[in-house]
Amino acid sequence: MNQKYEKYYVPAQSPWPIVGAFAMFFIAVGAGLTVMQARSGGGAGHYLLYAGIGVLIYMLFRWFKNVIEESDQGLYSAQMDRSFRQGMSWFIFSEVMFFMAFFGALFYARMISVPWLGGAGNNAMTNEVLWPTFEAMWPLVTTPGGGTTQAMGWQGLPLINTLILLASSVTLHFAHVAMENNKRGPLKVFMALTIALGVVFLGLQVLEYMHAYQDLGLTLDAGVYGNTFFLLTGFHGMHVTLGTILLLVMLIRILKGHFSPDKHFAFQAAAWYWHFVDVVWLCLFVFVYVL
């Protein structure tokens, strides 16, 4: 065959996946035991959890180190690059579906279970037999069981946070443009700015949680409004945390002189992730706070 073909790089044996599998094992058992022992108190489950997380982080460092070295040696073809891109895209799609489960729970609670408990449709007897005094409302500040809480408004902190996250997506885009034009100075500035915005967002989120717990009585166990509020914003916050760490790693790599205008997939993957987290927040802002 005379046709030129770039070889697809298949790495030789690697110890990191099996180390990662052990890490997952420790995390799963550790997290399980931690949750089980949380009620009874005591127990050493959380040490296993921390060990697992430690091993996972170490494993990721070494694994990505291998990948970066292989890339620097020129082992990767354009086809390999496409594999990475497609893999990251599908990973983000799976994350979208994860949030879908919780948005689904939110919509179900708002549009079906709460109205039905209040007697909507042909459920008059449900209301009559279970909690006759319950009236359907959203946000559900008085649960059928009698628990009360206050709703979180969208003005103030949530609105500020929305603007912060939107701004961070813009600064990240500028960083990307700077990367493509090989302007390392602005690149570093915009990356640092994006990370700072991410950290500020997380800080304000903590303030908002404290406000919810201390002033509003809005807690994780405050009925299905509190449940969906904290799980959706909580998982989003975890994703912002991960995204911030990813961007921080990218900034460190940029400071070390990594990446070039036409070879910076890791940076791009982190950026995609950040934009995805931003879009999730917009949905959150609309459906959890405003509506």
């Binding site: 298949v10 110890p15 099996i18 599908w90 489960a101 179900y108 609670a109 166990d221 009925g223 969906t228």
Partner: protein, 533 residues
């Protein structure tokens, strides 16, 4: 770009040693990035899990051999039904298909390996740990999960034992494993096809796996969400599934089955692919209606997202919803009918021979169709009010999963075993395995239709005296089917050890790239892509 290619040639030169041969010792299996090694690992793991899950089924059938409670106490019985289901779904059938995909997809599309070989290894090795956790919880105080594999709330929240957190995190990591595995398959198929391997030239097994991988990525995260809500409901006093807090136990079922229904297609679409590969080979004809097979598979996958509530007809949904899900479900029989028609039309006037893979395939077509018909009966809302939660349902899903998915896996294993090992299996033993399985599986599952229609509830360790005779027969069929599978283990083991050598093209009617490489398939294949005519 040319400099990149050149650079690579240099490194490849000094890499070559030790790259072309598997490493020695157990490290080969722990550190491997080779799709064939990982495929074998998946298949061996799946067979092990099949036997463990099968042993649990034997416990269930032993208890149900007679009315009354004699062997195990009801709580243990519940653990057996639960873990049997979990193991067979997540530990046996899904890894078996993933193993076949690992082995065959790169060979079929002319790729050097899976697209992301290291992640491939990670996906596999998470699985044994996940099932270690699940199985270990059986021996802990309080026991393992006992709420059914569907872990309906409030059984899994209010009424479950304290070890439920371990179940939750075991499901989390097996979900992560499935998602990574599926991403690998989908990227391999989209990105790694040899030049000239256009979409409509793809072997159907590859097509069905492409769509399966999409379903996996779409729904495994939803399962993760469901178990997370179970965890917070049970341990952190949330009330997603508790009406007192504004939630609803039925919401659990909606979320679970939004995952669960695509999941059942995840377990059958690759089976369709295998059958569509084997039937043409032994009919010595091209597959009838290739394009319609592709479209039918896609339609089934899309429809699978809008039929989930047919598992929940008796939960008191509004009539409009019941009707919508009934009609949507019945719609699935159209593309499925297309498939069955195409398989039969492929055999029509073919010069058929009855090698072992073909025997399993024909049994699949007949018995899976039977399971499909009982599925149609269950899809009729008013009729389902009668059948719901009876042994009729158990009969239905065992026909589609055992004589469907498992038979197709057996067919695929016999079809490709000579390619993997270079040896022909013991045909006499394999035929014994087939005929014993075929007879016993029907003795096992067919009478379940009758006891189910007569009202015997599922998941209960005791039953009314009127069901005694049928249950004795069912149990005998079950023991016979279970023992027959040991023959399969013997055949596989013997085939791996040795046997008559086979040529590259093991079956004379076979088509596809996998038959152009030697038998056994060399450790590395298609390092430069083959030419596709």
């Amino acid at each position: 770009m040319s400099s990149v290619t050149q650079q690579h040639d240099n490194t490849a030169a000094h890499h070559d040693d030790g790259h072309h041969h598997p490493a020695k010792g157990f490290k080969r299996w722990l550190y491997t990035t080779n799709h064939k090694d990982i495929g074998s690992l998946y298949l061996i793991f799946s067979l092990t899990m099949f036997l463990i899950g099968g042993a649990m089924a034997m416990v269930i059938r032993a208890e149900l051999f007679q009315p009354g409670l004699q062997l195990v106490d009801p709580h243990f019985f519940n653990q057996m039904t639960t873990v049997h289901g979990l193991i067979m779904v997540f530990g046996a059938v899904m890894p078996a298909f993933t193993g076949l995909a690992n082995w065959m997809v790169p060979l079929m599309i002319g790729a050097p390996d899976m697209a992301l070989p290291r992640m491939n290894n990670w996906s596999f090795w998470i699985l044994p740990f996940a099932f270690l956790i699940l199985l270990a919880s059986l021996f802990m105080p309080g026991g393992g999960p006992a709420f059914g594999w569907t872990f309906y709330a409030p059984l899994s929240t209010t009424y479950s034992n304290d070890n439920t957190a371990l179940f939750v995190f075991a499901v989390h990591i097996m979900g992560i494993s499935s998602i990574m595995g599926a991403i690998n398959v989908i990227v391999t198929i989209v990105n790694m096809r040899a030049p000239g391997m256009t979409w409509m030239k793809l072997p159907l097994f590859v097509w069905t796996w492409l769509i399966t991988a999409f379903l996996l990525i779409a729904v495994m995260p939803v399962l993760a969400g469901a178990v997370t809500m179970v965890l917070t409901d049970k341990y952190f006093a949330t009330s997603f599934f508790d009406a007192a807090g504004g939630g609803d136990p039925v919401m659990f079922q909606h979320i679970f089955w939004f995952f669960g229904h695509p999941e059942v297609y995840i377990m059958i679409l690759p089976a369709f692919g295998i059958i569509s590969t084997i039937v043409p080979t032994f009919s010595r004809k091209k597959l009838f209606g290739y394009a319609s097979m592709v479209y039918a598979t896609s339609s089934i996958a899309l429809l699978s997202f809008i039929v989930w509530a047919h598992h929940m007809f008796t939960t008191g949904m509004p009539v409009a919803a019941e009707l919508f899900f009934m009609y949507a479900t019945m719609l699935i029989s159209v593309p499925t009918g297309v498939k069955v028609f195409n398989w039969v039309a492929t055999m029509w006037r073919g010069s058929i021979s009855f090698e072992v893979p073909m025997l399993f395939s024909i049994a699949f077509i007949v018995l899976f169709t039977l399971g499909g018909f009982s599925g149609l009966m269950l899809a009729i809302t008013p009729a389902d009010f009668q059948y719901h939660d009876t042994y009729f349902v158990v009969a239905h899903f065992h026909y589609v999963l055992v004589t469907g998915a498992v038979f197709s896996i057996m067919a695929g294993a016999y079809y490709w075993l000579p390619k993997w090992t270079g040896n022909m299996f013991n045909i006499t033993l394999a035929k014994w395995h087939f005929w014993l399985s075929l007879v016993s599986v029907n003795v096992l599952f067919f009478p379940m239709h009758f006891v189910g229609l007569a009202g015997m509830p599922r998941r209960i360790p005791d039953y009314a005296l009127q069901f005694a005779d049928f249950n004795a027969i069912i149990s005998l069929g079950g023991f016979a089917f279970g023992l027959s599978q040991l023959l399969f283990v013997v055949v596989v083991f013997k085939c791996a050890r040795g046997g008559d050598k086979v040529p590259a093209k093991v079956w004379d009617g076979a088509e596809g790239l996998e038959w152009e490489v030697d038998s056994p398939a060399p450790y590395h294949t298609f390092e430069t892509p083959p030419e596709i005519k």
